[in-house]
């Protein structure tokens, strides 16, 4: 288990909030990672410029954390075929549902969007049920 880390959790959350605020202030966009990454994959009308820059920034954030001795912990809880299935579902689902934890869960909730609050409730409840089934039933 990753352990309960409320202080670093809150600190990281505040950084994410500041990031979302800056993207809105500078670019006028919602910081939704699935939309940003998905926008790089449009078959027609690619206009991914700022999106590619943002994704490069995301990776740079991870690199900086590691360079300063963060020691990123990535403990997988599923086999690699299950990770591939999970990736497919996450990719398709976030695009179909117009957002993920960042776009709906952070930015949309902060905007008090009814769509985002509904989507967040749905993916939270479904994820809890999924974990219950995979951990305690199967």
């Amino acid at each position: 288990m990753g352990g309960f880390t409320p202080v670093s959790g809150l600190l990281g959350g505040i950084l994410i909030g500041i990031s979302a605020a800056l993207l809105m202030l500078f670019e006028g966009r919602v910081a939704g990672i699935s939309g940003i990454v998905g926008g790089l994959l449009r078959p027609l009308g690619w206009r991914g410029g700022w999106r590619a820059v943002f994704v490069a920034g995301l990776l740079a954030g991870g690199v900086i954390y590691e360079v300063f001795g963060g020691g990123m912990r990535v403990q997988l809880e599923a086999s690699w075929p299950a990770m591939i299935l999970a990736g497919l579902l996450v990719g398709f689902g976030t695009r179909l549902g117009s957002g993920c934890t960042s776009g709906h869960g952070v930015c949309g909730m902060a905007r008090l969007s009814r769509r985002s609050i509904s989507a967040t409730l749905v993916f939270m409840v479904v994820a809890v049920i999924t974990v219950f089934v995979t951990r305690h039933v199967l």
Partner: protein, 155 residues
């Protein structure tokens, strides 16, 4: 300047995800596992992010326009439809299985743990599948809206 600002925003987002520990699927699944040893960290991450964003957005929206763009481009859809609910449910299943949502998965690539690459590749394939099935003709329909700076953007 504009690219630097966007890069810096992405960097803070990635750093925030790493600092908060959300790049660790064990921690995320620990939050979702309410019947096991529940780990509430994710609630602190999301709470902190939502509170900062809530107050910041309210201030920023008083501006005429963003610093480096013509207009604010906010999602305009209001209806809660089958796509929203179905998509969120599909995402929820994948999130529950893998413990990764898109942002943390991208940042976790830095760790070099190879199944993370498999997850991200599959995620991109899932997104591309959606683009092929649903986004083909809608792009051209969106363009005229964009002229007025009010594109209906997916978040």
């Amino acid at each position: 300047m504009k690219n630097l600002a966007v890069f810096f925003s992405g960097l803070l987002f990635g750093l925030g995800l790493a600092v908060s520990g959300m790049t660790d699927p064990a921690k995320v699944i620990g939050f979702l596992d309410v019947a096991g040893r529940w780990n509430p960290t994710l609630a602190f991450v999301m709470g902190g992010a939502v509170i900062v964003t809530f107050f910041a957005f309210r201030r920023i929206m008083r501006r005429e326009r963003p610093v480096f763009a013509q207009s604010f481009e906010l999602p305009e859809k209001k209806t809660i439809d089958g796509k929203l609910v179905g998509g969120a449910a599909v995402f929820g299943i994948g999130w529950g299985i893998g413990g990764f949502c898109p942002g943390p998965a991208v940042v976790a690539l830095v760790s070099g743990v190879w199944p993370v690459f498999a997850f991200v590749a599959a995620m991109l394939a899932g997104m591309a599948l959606h683009a092929i099935l649903f986004e083909g003709e809608s792009v051209s329909r969106r363009e005229p809206l964009r002229m007025r700076g009010r594109v209906r953007e997916r978040s």
